[in-house]
Amino acid sequence: MSDAAMKELPKSDYDDKFGSQEQQETIERITKSEYKWGWTTDIEMETAPKGLNEEIIHFISQKKNEPAFMLEWRLKAFRHWQKMEEPRWPNVQYNNIDYQNAYYYAAPKKQKQLKSLDEVDPKLRETFDKLGISITEQKRLTGVAVDAVMDSVSVATTFKAELAKHGIIFCSFSEAVQNHPELVKKYIGSVVPYTDNFYAALNSAVFSDGSFCYIPKGVRCPMELSTYFRINAANTGQFERTLIVAEEGAYVSYLEGCTAPMRDENQLHAAVVEIVAHKGAEVKYSTVQNWYPGDAEGKGGIYNFVTKRGICLDDNAKISWTQVETGSAVTWKYPSVILKGDNTVGEFYSVALTNNFQQADTGTKMIHLGKNTRSTIISKGISAGKSQNSYRGLVRVGKNAENARNFSQCDSLLIGDRCGAHTFPYLEVHNKSAKIEHEATTSKVGEDQIFYCNQRGISTEDAIGIIVNGYCKEVFKELPMEFAVEAQKLLAISLEGSVG
């Protein structure tokens, strides 16, 4: 594609209509399946008073026994946030959020210091069991270290000893602040500064916990690191913060998965993830996101406003984002890579599924600064019900980024006739040697495909599962094996037989 053509990439805005009366009824029957993971665990909470002001920030910092630099940083972020406006440019609609009518700190009361998983609150264990991610099973069967985050405070971390042998630090953010303040101080906000955007500023001011991961020079992390997040207390905003640092030549594959219980009121989730990859380091970050999407009438559900960004700081570094997004009422999220070093690589593989009244505005940003930088974007949007699904992606090639290359493929799949798919690709190219390719398609799960499956004895529900999983194949193959299986199940649950 020529430079001239690049600048006039089509913005396709595609709403499709098709389907017979019967099809429509089947769609409605099947897409109305209930969220299976809606329940509340009754654990005593320690909660900050409602509202947001400097006092609350002092309270949070004090609760967490933070060093002065953290409090200072939080306060700066808060003061900056107060001057900011909530962004309205995403292609989503939701009621105004009353930031003063929310709790900003809630922690399960600790009974005592935990030494092993057996000491974890049994109710908490039950919760994880319901999610099908029994920690012990995971530990035994998969060898995945699990840092289980419930609401805001980490309650169990496994495989620490094994990781410590390699000098790998994998712990809750709070622990990192206590035990490795110099690393936190050096890297926090270095990729996503608190000035970055409204939600990042809010997160920086009030974040309660999250994960911290540090891979020393030359170390290849021997296992996949995994964190399960879960919102539990009513009306508690969840402000996670994740920081991953891979030193020169290090490698890590990091998994993040989420589900949240049913709520009537909308809940805000504004997380920040920062990744730093030094020379020759590689970080693979995979997410399966399944926050509560709201009920079939569009009531309730999580607002998921997340800032995820990685920087390939030095030559030959590589950062790869893979996400499967099936949850949340509203999603606003653009995992990005800054390709600063020469020969660095950024990848983004995404499946975003919306059903009922869900809205998603998601995509990526690839910022090419170094020479011979390469990026790949594969985005698969799936819309069902009355949902709206937008891809928004930016590819920027800086003045000095000689021979930058990007390949983008943005596909949309429609199920039913009341949903919408939208594509907003942005290109900013300031170097003539750049080679950029963009492909976009919109298709629908056709009645012909479903009938063909039916005629071979496959039910409509299963047919949709097969067709959709086939469509997502390019992304699923980027996921670690056990995650890929989970992702396929999630798609099946989320779609339970929507028909086209």
């Binding site: 019967e22 009645e447 063909y452 005629q455 071979r456 004895g457 097969i466």
Partner: protein, 252 residues
Amino acid sequence: MLEIKNLEASIEGNKILRGIDLKVNAGEVHAIMGPNGSGKSTLANVLAGREEYEIDGGEVLYNGDDLLDMSPEDRARAGVFMAFQYPVEIPGVTNAHFLKTALNEIREARGEEKLDAVEFLALVKERMKLVELDQKLLNRSVNEGFSGGEKKRNEIFQMAVLEPKLTIMDETDSGLDIDALRIVSNGVNKLKNPNSATLVITHYQRLLNYIVPDFVHVLVNGRIVESGGKELALKLEEHGYDWVKEANNVAA
């Protein structure tokens, strides 16, 4: 096996089938011939259970059961197989995965054990030979990038694996060159057995040189106007469809 009584059907308000009567017994091959627009494909699709078609009257008994009351997947599980005129592409889904899912659904309905990957592979390797299909096609997406001939052979290959009782071949000969026609027909002939029946829907006689029917029916304007043995097909080849229309007072 199959008994169609006074079947009437329409699509989007247009009457297509105007009273079809047909009886097919196990072990028989019936050919349905007719000019374009006579309702051949409609008949095939109504039997397979395509929803766009409205049933306006009549009934269809399949081994004594009300076929029209069954969902398309239940018909398939009960042994009704349609070889599609235009086989559908399903990107990203391998032929093997698709067929294994289908086979195990059907086996389950028959009360048989599901096949595991090894057993399945052994079965498909053997059946692929029937239609001279390359094994590489197993790992390609369903019908995606297949040539016209490969698509049709893939249909017959699926039939060979699923072992239906009643096969409806919807213009399987369309778009096939003579070699592919021979391969497809050989496959069908080898699969012929006393417990299954085949309904061959075609516009042209040439397919019937290879798959020799026991009965030939001529469909004109939604009705069967002539029935006979295989010689009827030859007569049509020689004289075209006009004489049947005239003989039956149907406007051309």
